[in-house]
Symmetry: C2
Subunit: 1001 residues, 2 copies
C-alpha cells in the first residue's frame, strides 16, 4: 500500500487536476465566511451569462459548529475545496469522479453515492439542487446546480462542487478523527489547528461582546450600503461578508432573538440582492467581457441526430425508452415512474398505437419504459371531407365543374370518388378518402419529447442553456423500436442506443442491440432496473446478514423504499459499532443510523433489543466490501460520538434550563419565538384540558408539561436530530426528576408524528397536543400562512389530521369552535372570525378524508359533516351510526318520507309557526302528534341513532299527510301553517345530520 496522501498533497492534486481541466486556480478570500460559496469567485461570478471555471480552497468558519475540538470531525473552522463550472460542461459528475481518481480513490473499491441534498439560503436568496456525495457512507462533497443566487436566477446554471477536505483526507489516511489528519507528512491537524479551535470556540460561545458585535454589524452594513450606492461591488461585498460572519458569531453566542433574527435576515437579504444586481449591471455595462472565453461546449447539448427510422418492421415489436439522468432523488424517481405508467399508455392510445402491455421500471440513473407488442403503426382510417355545394361542383349537365375537379384534386382522390350528400334542403359534395396510419417510430419521435416534458415534479432544476427543467440533469436517451433507434431530442440530448453501466465500473457505455435485449443487457451488467427486484434482493441479503448475528431488521418500509431507490445494484454490508454506544437512548442511535446514513438498524431476533450492528447497502457488487464496511462503521462512529457529545452536554443541566434559549428559535416571525409559543401553551393547554374535562391532577400535569414542552428544542441533540423532539424532551424530563406523567405528556404532545404512529395515551398529552396544534393552526392561518397547493411548510395538514385522530381516539366529542376562539384570544396577532371559519373548514377537510379512508360512503360523510364538521369524534360517531342506518333495506322508506317534508320547504325563505288549531285535516293532526312524540326524544345534541329512532315512527304519518293533504293550498293561511309543520319536522335533524346530502334523496 502506498503512503496515504497528506492534507496538503490532496490540495495540490486537486489544484493540478482542475487546472489541467481548465479551471482558474483561485485563493481563499480575505474575509471570514461560512463556505466557499461566499467567496466572490462563486457568489458573484455565477451571476450573469459569462463562462467561469474556477477552483480554490476556502477555510470556512461556522461558529455554531464549534465543539471545542472535542468532536472528531466537527469544527468551527473546516476546509472546503470549491469548484465552479459555468456553464455545465455536460459531464460534471464524471469530472468530479475523475478528481477522486486523481486522489487515488478507485471507484471499484468503494461505495460512491450521490445522495439528494439541496441547498437553500432564503436569507440570501440562494438555492440549488444537487447531492451530497458519499464515499463509503461518509459525506465528502456537496454537489449543487445553482439555480438562483442573491435572488437572481442563474443563467447559465453553474455546477458547484464542494469537497469537504478534512473528510476526504481522513478517509484517505484512515484516521478516525480530524485531529489525527497528517497535514504535510510531519504535522497533524491537531498541531496546526486544535488550540486555535478551542480558542475560537471559547471566543464565539463565551466571550464575544454582544454589544460590540452588534455595533460592528451596523457599521459594516452602513459601509456596504455606502459602497454600493457608489456602485462599488467588491468593497460592498467585503462588508456584507463581515456582516454575515458577525451575525454568525452573535448567533453562536446565543444573542439572536427571534425579532433580531428576522431583522438580520431581512437586512442581509437586502444587501445580498443589492450586490448581486449591482454586479450584473456592472458586468453588463462592461459588455460581459468574459463572454469571449466561451469555449465550445463538451457535449452539453447535442444536435438532433439523423432522420426517422428506416425500414420499419411490419410486425409488432418492443419499444424501449430509457431516460438517463444524474441520480434522481428517491421521491422524484418514484414519481417519474408513476407518471410514466399513466402517461405512456394514454399517449399510445391517443396516437392510436396498438400495444400489448407497458412496463415502467427504473433506478436513480435510468427510468425505463418498455412497450411490448407495439404495432408498427396506426391503422388506416377513413375520413370524409365536405366540399362545395353540389350545384357548384356540378353543372346543369351533372358534369364536374372546375371547382368540383379542384376539390377532388386537392383531396387527392379520383373524381369518381366524389359523392353528393343531401342534408335537408342542402346538397353538397363529399370526398371520402383513406388516411394511412403513421408509423409508430415517427409518432414516438414526435410524441415522446412532449411526454417527457409533461412529467411534473415538486422541485425541478435547469442545467444547460436550453433551460429545460427536470429534477436532475438528463444526460442520455435510449429509444429503440425493435432494433432501430427512434430519433428524438429532449433538453438538447439526442436519443441513441447507448446506455451506461454502473458507476463503480466507471459508467461504461453499453450498446443495446434491441429493445428486447434491454433487461438482459442490464442484468449482464449487474443492474437491477426493476425496483421490486432490488427490494427483494436487499431484503433477502439484509435479513441473512442480520440472522448471522442473531438479529433481524428493524422494520421500516420507508427506509427500505428509500434504500431501494438509491442503488442500481444493491449489496448489503453488515457492520458493527462499539456496544458502549448502546448506553445512549436507542432512538437516538436508530435516528442517527436511518436519517443520516440510511443504515438498517438490527434488533435481536427475539428480544427486539437493538444490537450493535448496522446494515448498509452498497451500490455495487461484493468486491472490496471490507473497505466499504470500514467506511460505514467509521462514519457511524463519528455520528455516535457527536450524539454522545450532545447527550452529555444536554444531560449536564436540567431540562428547564434550556428554556431561555428558546428565545433564539423562531417559531414564526410574527408569532414570535418558540419561547413565546411555549408560554402560550402554558395558557392554552389548561384551557384545552378543561374543555376535555381533565381532572385537577391532570391539569397540573398538563400545565407543567406545557411549560417544558419545547425546552428540548434548545438541546443539542434535538438541534441535531429534529425528529427526536418530544422523545428527548421526555427523556431529559425524566433525568431532570420531573413526574413521569409530565415526561409522558411532553413526548405524547407530538403524537402522532407520522401516518401510523402511536397516539397519545394520556389526557395531559392529548390536551397539550391539541393546544400545540390549535395554536399553530390559528396563528399561522391568521398571518396568512395557510397551506396552499403542495406547499405546507408548517405541516398544518398533519396537525389538523392529528387533532382529528386524537379526539376520535379518546372518544371525546369536543366541538372545536369555542376552543378556537380561546386560542384566537391568545395568539399575538389579530384573528378575524373568517380565519376561525377557515381553520374549522380546514380541520373538517382532514376529518372528511379520514372518515372516507375508514371506508365510509361519501354521502354519509357529507351528511354528517354538514352539521358536525367541528366535532371530529361527534362526526365520526354520527357517521358510523348513519352508515348502519343507510345500510338497512328499508332505509329508503325513511329517506323518501323525510325527503318529502324537506324538499317542499327547503326553498322557502320564510319560517312559519304551526298552529294545530288552524288545520282540521286529521292527517295533519296525526303528523303533529308524531312530531311531538319525536321531539320529545331529540335535541340538536342528540346522536344520529336517537334522531333516526325518533323519526322512524313518523313515516306513516308523513306518508299519510302527503297523501291526504294539499300543502300548497290556495288558502294562504292554511298553506303557511302546513309549511310550518313540515319545517318543524325538518328542524328535528338540524345540528345532527343533513339527510338531504344522502344518495337517493
Amino acid at each position: 500500500m502506498t503512503k496515504p496522501l497528506s492534507f496538503q498533497e490532496v490540495v495540490m492534486r486537486l489544484d493540478r487536476y482542475w487546472a489541467d481541466y481548465g479551471c482558474l486556480v483561485w485563493q481563499p478570500y480575505s474575509e471570514k465566511m461560512g463556505a466557499g460559496t461566499g467567496n466572490p469567485a462563486t457568489t458573484l461570478r455565477v451571476l450573469g451569462p459569462e463562462p467561469w471555471n474556477v477552483a480554490y480552497v476556502e477555510p470556512s468558519y461556522r461558529p455554531a459548529d464549534g465543539r471545542y475540538a472535542k468532536n472528531p470531525n466537527r469544527m468551527q473552522l473546516f476546509t472546503q475545496y470549491q469548484v465552479i463550472l459555468k456553464p455545465d460542461p455536460g459531464n460534471p459528475q464524471e469530472l468530479y469522479l475523475g478528481s477522486l481518481e486523481a486522489l487515488g480513490i478507485n471507484m471499484r473499491e468503494h461505495d460512491v453515492r450521490f445522495v439528494e441534498d439541496n441547498w437553500e439560503s432564503p436569507a440570501l436568496g440562494h438555492w440549488g439542487l444537487g447531492w451530497e456525495v458519499w464515499l463509503d457512507g461518509q459525506e465528502i462533497s456537496q454537489y449543487t446546480y445553482f439555480q438562483q443566487c442573491g435572488g437572481l436566477a442563474t443563467d447559465p446554471v453553474s455546477v458547484e462542487l464542494t469537497y469537504g477536505l478534512e473528510r476526504i483526507v481522513m478517509y484517505l489516511q484512515g484516521v478516525r478523527s480530524v485531529w489525527d489528519v497528517n497535514w504535510d507528512g510531519v504535522h497533524t491537524y491537531r498541531d496546526i489547528y486544535m488550540r486555535s479551535e478551542i480558542e475560537q470556540c471559547t471566543y464565539n460561545f463565551q466571550l464575544a461582546d454582544v454589544e460590540r458585535l452588534g455595533q460592528m454589524y451596523n457599521l459594516y452594513e452602513a459601509e456596504a450600503k455606502a459602497a454600493m450606492a457608489r456602485g462599488l461591488v467588491i468593497p460592498g461585498y467585503d462588508y456584507i461578508l463581515r456582516c454575515s460572519h458577525t451575525f454568525n458569531v452573535l448567533d453562536a453566542r446565543g444573542a439572536i432573538g427571534v425579532t433580531e433574527r428576522a431583522s438580520y435576515f431581512g437586512r442581509m437579504r437586502d444587501l445580498t440582492r443589492q450586490v448581486a444586481r449591482l454586479y450584473v449591471e456592472q458586468r453588463k455595462e462592461m459588455g460581459f467581457p468574459f463572454a469571449k472565453y466561451q469555449t465550445s461546449r463538451r457535449g452539453a447539448v447535442s444536435a438532433p441526430s439523423g432522420p426517422a427510422v428506416s425500414a420499419p418492421s411490419d410486425r409488432p415489436s418492443t419499444f424501449l425508452l430509457e431516460i438517463g439522468t444524474e441520480e434522481l432523488p428517491v421521491a422524484d424517481l418514484t414519481s417519474a415512474l408513476e407518471q410514466l405508467r399513466a402517461l405512456v399508455p394514454e399517449a399510445l392510445a391517443a396516437n392510436r398505437l396498438g400495444f400489448d402491455s407497458v412496463r415502467v421500471i427504473g433506478t436513480p440513473r435510468r427510468q425505463a419504459v418498455l412497450v411490448y407488442g407495439l404495432l408498427p403503426g396506426q391503422p388506416d382510417r377513413t375520413v370524409e371531407v365536405q366540399g362545395p355545394p353540389a350545384k357548384v361542383a356540378f353543372d346543369a349537365d351533372g358534369s364536374l365543374t372546375r371547382a368540383g375537379q379542384g376539390f377532388a384534386q386537392k383531396q387527392g382522390i379520383p373524381v369518381e370518388a366524389l359523392r353528393v350528400v343531401t342534408d335537408g334542403d342542402r346538397s353538397y359534395v363529399v370526398a371520402t378518402k383513406t388516411e394511412p396510419g403513421q408509423l409508430a417510430g415517427d409518432l414516438l419521435a414526435e410524441e415522446l419529447p412532449k411526454l417527457i416534458a409533461r412529467l411534473r415534479f415538486p422541485k425541478t432544476m435547469r442545467w444547460n442553456e436550453l433551460n429545460v427543467t427536470f429534477p436532475r440533469p438528463l444526460r442520455w436517451l435510449v429509444a429503440l423500436l425493435g432494433d432501430q433507434v427512434v430519433p428524438l431530442v429532449f433538453a438538447g440530448v439526442s436519443s441513441g442506443r447507448t446506455t451506461r453501466g454502473l458507476r463503480p465500473l466507471g459508467s461504461p457505455d453499453i450498446e443495446l442491440a434491441s429493445a428486447d435485449g434491454y433487461l438482459a443487457a442490464m442484468a449482464d451488467r449487474q443492474i437491477a432496473v426493476d425496483g421490486a427486484e432490488r427490494r427483494r434482493q436487499i431484503g433477502a441479503q439484509a435479513e441473512a446478514l442480520a440472522a448471522s448475528v442473531d438479529g433481524r431488521l428493524f422494520a421500516d418500509p420507508d427506509l427500505m423504499d428509500e434504500v431501494t431507490n438509491m442503488v442500481e445494484r444493491p449489496t448489503a454490508v453488515l457492520g458493527s459499532f462499539e456496544p458502549e454506544y448502546l448506553d445512549l437512548p436507542h432512538e437516538v442511535l436508530i435516528t442517527a443510523m436511518k436519517k443520516h446514513q440510511r443504515y438498517f438498524p438490527v434488533i435481536h431476533a427475539t428480544s427486539g433489543d437493538l444490537l450493535p450492528h448496522l446494515i448498509g447497502v452498497r451500490n455495487g457488487d461484493g468486491q472490496n466490501l471490507d473497505v466499504v464496511r470500514q467506511g460505514y462503521e467509521d462514519v457511524l462512529r463519528a455520528r455516535f460520538a457527536d450524539a454522545k457529545f450532545f447527550y452529555d452536554q444536554d444531560t449536564a443541566r436540567p431540562l428547564d434550563s434550556f428554556l431561555p434559549r428558546l428565545d433564539t428559535l423562531t417559531f414564526q416571525e410574527k408569532l414570535g419565538s418558540m419561547l413565546d409559543k411555549s408560554k402560550r401553551l402554558e395558557k392554552l393547554a389548561p384551557i384545552a384540558g378543561q374543555a376535555l374535562g381533565l381532572s385537577q391532577a391532570e391539569q397540573a400535569v398538563t400545565t407543567r408539561a406545557a411549560h417544558l414542552s419545547k425546552a428540548d428544542l434548545a438541546t443539542q441533540l434535538v438541534v441535531e436530530f429534529t425528529s427526536l423532539q418530544g422523545f428527548m424532551g421526555c427523556h431529559y424530563a425524566r433525568l431532570s426528576g420531573e413526574d413521569e406523567a409530565v415526561a409522558t405528556a411532553i413526548f405524547e404532545h407530538y403524537l402522532p408524528r407520522f401516518a401510523g404512529d402511536a397516539l397519545p395515551e394520556t389526557r395531559p398529552g392529548l390536551a397539550l397536543g391539541l393546544a400545540n396544534r390549535l395554536d399553530s393552526l390559528v396563528g399561522l392561518f391568521a398571518v396568512g400562512l395557510a397551506p396552499s397547493g403542495s406547499s405546507d411548510p408548517y405541516h398544518l395538514r398533519r396537525d389538523a389530521l392529528s387533532i382529528v385522530q386524537i379526539l376520535i381516539a379518546h372518544r371525546i366529542p369536543l366541538s372545536l369552535r369555542s376552543l378556537l376562539a380561546e386560542v384566537a384570544a391568545i395568539v399575538p396577532v389579530p384573528v378575524a372570525g373568517q380565519v376561525l371559519d377557515e381553520v374549522t373548514g380546514f380541520i373538517g377537510e382532514r376529518l372528511r378524508g379520514w372518515l372516507r379512508e375508514k371506508g365510509l360512503r361519501y354521502d354519509v360523510v357529507d351528511a354528517v359533516l354538514a352539521e358536525r364538521a367541528d366535532n371530529p369524534y361527534g362526526a365520526y360517531r354520527a357517521a358510523g351510526q348513519l352508515a348502519a342506518w343507510v345500510a338497512r333495506e328499508d332505509w329508503m322508506d325513511l329517506l323518501n318520507a323525510y325527503g318529502r317534508c324537506i324538499r317542499i320547504v327547503r326553498d322557502q325563505p320564510q319560517q312559519f309557526a304551526f298552529q294545530p288549531g288552524l288545520d282540521a285535516e286529521p292527517a295533519t293532526a296525526a303528523l303533529w302528534d308524531a312530531l311531538r312524540a319525536a321531539r320529545a326524544q331529540v335535541t340538536p345534541d342528540s346522536d344520529v341513532d336517537r334522531l333516526l329512532i325518533a323519526l322512524w315512527p313518523m313515516i306513516p304519518a308523513i306518508n299519510r299527510f302527503f297523501d291526504d293533504v294539499l300543502v300548497m293550498h290556495q288558502d294562504l293561511a292554511l298553506r303557511e301553517n302546513r309549511l310550518g309543520l313540515l319545517q318543524a319536522i325538518w328542524g328535528l335533524s338540524r345540528g345532527i345530520v343533513d339527510l338531504s346530502r344522502l344518495e337517493g334523496f
Copy 2:
C-alpha cells in the same frame, strides 16, 4: 521557446517545490493584511524555539499603494508567496535560487542579485536584515532574517522569503504591465482584478467613512484585548489584523493626523507585543510541542575540522583568509575591508609574526586577506624567570637545594643555567631560557576567530543557533597557509580550501591548491576580488557604452562605489528608455535610475543633457545580455511610469493645495506634524531674515516660501522619492505660478543636502534654511532627541554643519544665540536655557570640525571658538586672521608678553579696578598709557586683527613692567591695584579670542 508559465502555474510550482523540500503548505489568511508576514503562520510561528517550515500565498492589501489600476505594477492588492524556514537550514539562498530554477529561470541567463534591504516595523516591534532579490533589475523577492518579532527576539532566527508573484510572472511572461499577466491560460490579471482594484481605490481614497472606521478600530481593539485577557491568541490576533487594516484604510484616506498616528502606532504596538508574549507563553505551557519535529540541520553548523597544520614550511609563505558570506551590504563590505586592513597587521605584530605585506580585498560574497611573506613562525625569545631567594636555592655550601633543583626542573633548564641576581639587599635565583616561537599556523588558527569576532558593524544579525552576529550569514571560510589548511572555526563554520564561484554559474565549489594561487583561481572563474579592479572595469565599460551613444557617464562617485561593491564580475549593459520620459524633470529620472536601480544616467558628451539611456552593471559575464537589458529597461519603464503618474497627479493642482495634507505627516510626535512645522517656519523665517538683514522685498519672498516650503512633502513624487524634496517644491511652485524667487528659496532652503552640495545663493533661501534647521535643532534637543553616538536619525549634525556653511558662505557674522532664544519661544515644547547652551555647543562643534577641515591649526580654532562659537562667520574670519598672526616669526614676542599678563591674573577670583594714582612706578604708568592707547582701538566686537594690532605696541610696556615692578607686592593695596591693571589688559581680548589656548602660551 516554451509557453510561459501562467500565474497559477507559478503558484502551483512553488507549492510543489517547497512541499518537496519539507514545508507545510498553508493558505492565505481570513483577514486582510498588508503582507504575508501578517499571517499567523509567520508572525506567531517565528516566535519561540520550535522548528517551522511553511509556504503559502498571501494576497496582500496596502490601501495607500492603490493607483486606480493605472500603474503597470503597483496596486493596493498584490500577491505574495511566503516561505518561512526556521531554523536557518544553512543554505537558504541556494534553496531560494532552486525555486527560481523550478520556475524555469536559468541563473546563467539572468542577472540575479541580492541587494541590501532591511525590514523594520517599529510600530509592531519587528525587524530583520536581508535583501531584495533582483532579477534583471526587477525586485522579485524579499529575503529577510527575522531578528525580532512583536518586540521579542527570535531564537532561532527564521528565514523569510517573500516572492512578489506578479513581478515574477510579469517577468516570465514578458509582459510590461501586471494587467497583462496571464492567470490561467485564459484570463488576464486585468480580467480578474482590474475592476475591483479601481473599486477598492475609490473606496479607500474617497469613500471610506472616517468616523465609522474609527469606531471599528476601537471595537476591534476592545475585542482583541478582551480575547487576550482570556488568554486567547488567535481570536485576539484576528482583531489585531483588523485594527491594522482599518488603520491602513484610514491612512490612505488621509485621515490620520500626527497625534492620531502616534497614538495608533502605540496602540498597535501594545497589542502586537501582547499577542507575541501570549503566544510564546501558550506554547511554553504546551511544552513547545513542535520541538519534537526538529530534524538534523543541513550543515548549518559544522564541527571543527582536523588538527593543526602538519609539516609546516620553513620558508616564508603566503597566507589566505577568505570569509565567505551571503551578500554583504555595500557599507558593511567597505567597513569590513577597512577593519581587516587595520586589524590583521596589528594582530600579526601582536603575535610576533613577521610578514612582508598584507592585502585586503573583497566582494559582497568574500572578504579576502592575503598576507605575503609570512614567516613560518614566531622567532624564539629569551626570557628570565625569577626563582626563589638565593639562600633558599643554595645552601651554605653553595650547593643547590631541593628547592633550587625543583625550580630548574620546572623551568626545563639545566641547573648550570641558573644564576643569582642581586638587587639591592635582595638576592634571588633567575632562570634564563629560550622560548621557541610558535608556528604561524597554530597562532592563526587561534587568533583569527577572535579577529573576525572583533569586526564591528552598525547593524548585525544572528542566523544560526550559536547566535553569533555578523552583517549577513557567514557561510564558508578558506584559510590557507601556503598549501595547507589552517583549521579554524567561527560561527559554526570550519575552514577549508573550498571557496565558491559566481552565482550565475551556480556558485560552484572551487578547490584552492594554495594561497598563492588564489587570485589567479578567482580570475579564472571571472571573479574580480579587488574592488579597485572592478571599479576600473566598470568605468571603462560604461564610458565606452556611453560613448557609443555620444554620451558620457553622469559623474557620481558614490554610485560608482556602490555598484562596484554589489558585483563580483561586472559587465556593463547599455539600455534605453522612451525619449518622451525626458519631458519629466530630469532630476526625477536621475533619482529613479540611481536610487531604485543603481543605473548610471548617461548625459550628452558635450551638452551634458540627459540622454534616454541607462547603464546598468550586471553581476556576470556577457552571455544573454539581451535578456538582462530587456529586464533593466522594463523595470525602469515601470519606475518612470510610476513617476509620470505621480507627476501628473501632482501637477493637476496648485502646490499650496497640498498643505492641509501635511497634517498627516509626522515631524516628531511632540513637535507635531509637518504642517505645524511649516507654520512655525512662517514665523521663524522672517525673524531669521531680520537678523540677517533682509530687505522688505526679500522678507516677503521668505515668508511666502516658508508657507510653501514643506508642501511638496505631500506630493506623490516626493512621497516616492524623498530625496527630491525641495527640488520638486521649487518645480511645482513655478508651475503653480509662484514668484521665481519664492520657488528658488523653496529649493535652496534644503541646501546643502550633502557634502559638496551647492549652497543657497539667495538670502530668502538662506533665511528659510536657517529657520528650518534651528527649529529642528532646538525642538529636537528640547524633547531629548539630541544625537548620541552614531545615532542621528534627524540628521542634526548635518543641519548644524549646514548652518555653519551657509552663514560663512554669505559672510554674515550672525551670533546665533539670540536667534535660538526666539526659536525656543516658538517651538511647542518648553526649552530650558541649558538646551540652548547645548545647541550652541553642538553647532560650535560642527564649526570646529569645519574650521579644522579648512586646515586651521587646532589651537587657533580653539582660541577663536572659546569666544565666538555661536558666530560661525565671525569665528571663521577670526581664525583666518589669527592664523596669519601666529605664522609671524615674532609672534612669540606678543604671546609671551601677553601671556605674562594673563598667567598672573587668571587664577585670581576677584576683579580689581586699577587706579593710576596708587602706583608710583614709572613702568606701571607706562603700561597704563599703553593700555589706554590699545583700549581706544578695541571693543569686544573687534576682530582679531584689530585686537592684535592694538596689542602689539604694548609689548615693550608689558616687558618693562614685569622687569621693573613686583606685582605681588606685600602691600595689599598696591598688589591689588597692579593685578587690576593686568586684568584690564587681559580684558582687551575677551569676546574676541582666547590667546591662552594657543600653543606656546
